[in-house]
């Protein structure tokens, strides 16, 4: 083996000093022959005879040299280098062709590499620095109402952790947020609530200090400790080496910093960078809804499991199902109808993986289409050029080149093209690897984090794409050369016919493919556009126009509940009396935000749930004037007033769907429902609106009075026609007048929030639209090329037709009909594939059928117009044929 490597290296090295070695060889052989001649002469031969005798016993000098060269270098590589050099020379000779072809391939390969890198970095290996991500799965719960996945409760999680034998470890990672005041501005930052085993389970030891100790995830607010991210440590604490043991106020509670996470670790949540980690025991500081560690009914845990080596997800799923059945039997009150479900990381339901999955899948299909179209285009270009090089190929064949050798050379030329394309494409992908995030606007001042990952897998896949591309493109002219008929092609080219079959079928076939692929993309664009319009025109149930909101964090500055209540009352008074403000109200959260609504099991007076149901409903805490401010109409009853405070009986409002589901036709006003052990009286019924997603179906939802729940933070909603900047300045003045230490967050309009919630659709429409437009352009150029070529090759036929009495309109019709026939074929093929493919769009489509006739119809219209435009110029040129000249030439 070692010897083999040594020989290989020596032979390889010889390639680089060929000239010197060649001289050596010449001299050595010459000296051999001369010595032989000398010897023969000395033995008495005539010089002439001596020379021929020396040559005879030596054998063929040139053969010897050739054998010597083959032994010296690496003949395979040398031929390849020769082909490469020739390929490069051919490319340099027609720069226009080369640039066009390379641009097409750069686009195709680059788009693929970029999407591969996004899929790798966002879906498959989303958590940099985390060990063995392939063995991680997401663990969540299911219920009758939410088969798509929901959270677990902490006691359920502990039971899973205890009983699971197929997992190495289970850990919790639940997103949360806090305010950090940096200078005089408040900033929102994201962090995770985690189980104590978190850093061990993911295999990321903190860079400084320690992770969490066993037991730090137990007890109510018992362990105020935090690990902070590297960025936070560098940014906020200026890389203080003495950071361990210092304190930081997070959501009002003073936490001791026990560790700093290593650089390049951003936590375990697709879409956002985590900046701090706190143990589960601190949950009631960060989460709404009180202390939940001992409450099996409170579902808020988002967790992951690391499967043991060799364990499949299905096996683990079976075990989890068995455990959850046991839990159902043991705790029917809270667990009836509930299950546990596993997802691969790329389908994780509780982070942005789930929202991005259909978008990325769609994009994958789109970029593959674009690549195929680019290949078809380059194949077409190569084909045109191979006609021009017919003579060269014929000569090569005639002087004895084998077909295999010609194929190899053509494929090498294709390889040169796609290597350039791949280099350009990878460069483009490298620049675009973080570009996805640009399509998602920052939320509440926090920019999303969606990194692409150009690792060896992506590179390997791109290399494969490049090779396949080469084969696809190189094959087209190669197939063509194998049919070269030496005798006829050495002569003049025969004239073609417009409707003729012959070799035109390859090019027509390529155009057919292009047309059908771009038709598919047009249909996709149409469908996505339609669902975006549908979503945009769907009323969310509140009037977003003219509503602005901002957060004011009173917890971080250490306000007591009473003082916070006071502050909120005074601020509300001041804001309401500002000129231009129509109304204002506090609430715990705004609709459609990324903070999930509070959810809790309820008991409704007079409603007996069926055996397998334990009613659990989402709710929001809102202040007086909330419904007026958001423009949510009331069906009956009243909304909360200032009088609904802690001194009077607890009240609630329900939405229409909830009234229907739990009171079934009876009037819910004055009825009671039980939440966390206390009874609330229903005082109003509001119309349904959208709560967490514009696309959700009508869901039961209720509201409780903010003033009866001592909430210290929350969101201030303001209805005003004023511009956000004006309002923000006025608001900041009022807040500072009350307490100079408090700064409100950025002011966001509810309309903006509404539009943001449709960003997956928006991203998909933008990307598919742009790439679909490009594809259409490429296909039109292809069609134009084929038709122009056909017309230029058949001037004789056209001239003959004219001479026989065909007028311009006949010829126009002849050429156009041929072009349109190609288009029609492509559309038919495309439509057939599109019918099968559009289902992939899945939940990106909203109230639009994947077979929507309008989308197919408009795609057809656009395609027809494009192909008419592409065929018109060649057809017009056909009508300008001069019959006299055409027949003479």
């Amino acid at each position: 083996m070692l010897e083999f490597v040594q020989v290989f290296l020596r032979r390889l090295a010889s390639l680089f000093r060929r000239r010197g070695l060649e001289d050596d060889l010449d001299e050595e052989l010459r000296s051999h022959l001369e010595m032989a001649v000398e010897l023969h002469v000395r033995k008495g031969m005539a010089p002439e005879d001596a020379r021929s005798e020396a040559r005879r016993s030596f054998g063929g000098v040139e053969q010897t040299k050739e054998a010597y060269r083959d032994q010296r270098g690496l003949p395979m590589i040398e031929t390849m280098l020769q082909d490469l050099r020739f390929g490069l020379r051919m490319l340099r000779r027609s720069p226009g062709f080369s640039v066009l072809a390379i641009l097409c391939l750069t686009l195709g390969i680059g788009a693929n590499a970029a999407v591969f890198s996004w899929i790798e970095g966002i879906l498959f290996r989303p958590y940099p620095a985390v060990a063995h991500q392939e063995s991680l799965v997401a663990v969540g719960g299911t219920s009758r109402d939410e088969p798509q996945g929901t959270s677990l409760s902490w006691p359920d999680f502990l039971d899973l952790q205890r009983s699971c034998t197929l997992c190495e470890t289970l850990f919790v990672s639940k997103i949360t947020g806090t305010t950090l005041s940096i200078g005089d501005r408040a900033e929102r930052t994201t962090g995770s609530i985690v189980s104590a085993n978190y850093f061990d389970a993911i295999g990321v030891p903190p860079m400084l200090g320690r992770g969490f100790l066993p037991g730090e995830d137990q007890g109510q607010s018992a362990h105020p400790v935090a690990v902070i991210s590297y960025q936070l440590w560098r940014g906020r604490f200026r890389g203080d080496p003495q950071i361990i043991g210092k304190t930081e106020r997070l959501d009002g509670a003073v936490h001791t910093i026990v560790g700093v996470a290593p650089e390049g670790f951003y936590g375990t949540f697709v879409g956002w960078r985590m900046n701090f980690w706190v143990p589960v025991s601190m949950e009631d500081t960060f989460e709404g809804g009180g202390y939940k560690l001992e409450d099996r009914g409170a579902r808020w845990i988002e967790s992951y499991a690391r499967l043991k080596p060799g364990v499949t997800q299905q096996q683990a799923q079976q075990e989890f199902a068995a455990i959850s059945q046991r839990l159902e039997a043991t705790y029917p009150a809270t667990n009836r109808g509930r299950g546990v479900r596993l997802w691969p990381l790329w389908q994780t339901p509780f982070n942005n993986a789930a929202t991005l999955l259909p978008t990325l899948e769609t994009m994958l299909v789109v970029v593959v289409c674009v690549l195929l179209i680019a290949c078809a285009n380059v194949g077409n270009l190569l084909l045109v050029r191979s006609f021009a090089r017919r003579h060269e190929m014929s000569v090569r064949l005639a002087i004895g080149a084998g077909t295999a050798r010609l194929w190899r050379q053509l494929l090498t030329e294709g390889l040169v093209l796609s290597l350039f394309g791949a280099a350009g494409g990878l460069l483009a992908a490298y620049w675009c690897r973080h570009a996805l995030v640009l399509l998602f606007p920052a939320r509440g001042g926090v920019q999303m984090y969606l990194p692409g990952e150009l690792d060896w897998r992506v590179l390997a896949l791109s290399a494969t794409v490049c090779l396949v591309t080469t084969l696809l493109m190189g094959l087209v002219p190669a197939l063509q050369t194998s049919k070269i008929d030496l005798a006829s092609s050495m002569k003049m080219e025969a004239a073609g016919v417009v409707g003729g079959r012959g070799r035109a079928w390859v090019r027509s076939g390529l155009v057919l493919v292009q047309v059908s692929l771009s038709f598919i993309l047009l249909v996709g664009t149409g469908l996505l556009m339609q669902s975006l319009l549908t979503i945009r025109s769907t009323s969310p149930g509140f009037n977003a126009r003219g509503v602005q909101y901002t957060g004011i964090d009173l917890v971080s500055v250490g306000y007591t509940p009473a003082r916070a209540q006071n502050f909120q009352d005074e601020l509300l008074e001041r804001v309401r009396s500002l000129p231009g403000v129509e109304s204002a109200a506090f609430s715990r959260m705004v609709p459609l935000s990324y903070v999930s609504s509070a959810t809790a099991p309820i008991v409704v007076d007079g409603y007996t749930p069926p055996l397998e149901e334990s009613p659990t409903v989402d709710y929001n805490e809102v202040g007086p004037g909330y419904f007026v401010t958001l423009g949510i109409p009331l069906v009956s009853g009243r909304e909360f007033t200032r009088a609904d405070d802690e001194k009077v009986a607890l009240v609630a409002m329900v939405n229409e769907t909830m009234a229907q589901r739990y009171w079934q036709g009876r009037n819910p006003l004055g009825q009671r429902l039980q939440l966390k052990g206390s009874w609330l009286q229903v005082v109003g019924v509001a119309k349904d609106s959208k709560y967490s997603s514009v696309r959700e179906k009508p869901t039961p939802f209720f509201f409780i009075a903010l003033r009866q729940n001592n909430l210290r933070g929350g969101v201030l909603n303001i209805r005003t026609p004023l511009a956000p900047q004006t309002m923000a300045a006025a608001l900041a003045r009022e807040v500072r007048a009350l307490d100079p230490d408090i700064a409100p967050y950025e002011l966001i309009t509810l309309q903006e929030q509404l539009e943001r919630s449709t960003s997956p659709q928006m991203v998909a429409v933008t990307l598919v639209g742009v790439l679909g437009g490009l594809a259409l352009l490429l296909a039109a150029v292809g069609l134009y090329g084929v038709m122009s070529y056909a017309v230029s090759q058949s001037t004789r036929e056209l001239g003959l037709r004219m001479a026989l009495g065909a007028d311009a309109s006949n010829l126009l019709r002849l050429v156009m009909s041929r072009g349109l026939a190609l288009t029609a074929g492509g559309v038919l093929l495309g439509a057939a594939v599109a019918l099968a493919l559009t289902r992939l769009l899945g939940n990106l489509l909203y109230k639009v059928s994947p077979r929507d006739p309008l989308a197919f119809g408009s795609a057809l219209a656009v395609m027809t117009i494009a192909s008419l435009a592409a065929c018109f110029l060649p057809a017009w040129r056909a009508t300008r044929t001069d019959p006299a000249r055409a027949l003479r030439d």
């Binding site: 020596r10 010595m35 010897l39």
Partner: protein
């Protein structure tokens, strides 16, 4: 895969070259060819040219080294000499050749 016959021939040539260099010391290509023909008493028909790719192959494997020098007639020539690895290779090949010929002889005698 070359035919078995030429393999034997090539192996033979290798052995002859190595043995010549072993017994004669550093030599140029022509000298080696001459020596082989003399020793075999011109019974071996050797195309002298085939020697050179073989010499190169030996050199690539590290069995011999080469150096430009001057011949007895004041002519520039490339001299080849055996390395330690080459000597070892020669021993191995001579031994396997001996085994082979003993075996073939035995087969010829018994049948």
């Amino acid at each position: 895969m070359p035919a078995p016959k030429s393999e034997v021939l090539q192996g033979t040539l290798d052995l002859l070259v190595l043995k010549t260099l072993d017994s004669m010391g550093p030599m140029h290509g022509f000298g080696i060819a001459l020596r082989i023909q003399q020793v075999s008493e011109d019974l071996l028909q050797l195309n002298q040219g085939t020697l050179y790719p073989a010499l190169l192959r030996h050199e690539q494997r590290g069995w011999i080294t080469s150096k430009w020098g001057t011949s007895e007639n004041n002519r520039r020539a490339k001299y080849y000499s055996l390395t330690r690895a080459g000597r070892k290779q020669l021993e191995e090949e001579a031994e396997s050749w001996g085994r082979m010929s003993t075996m073939i002889n035995r087969v010829l005698r018994t049948s």
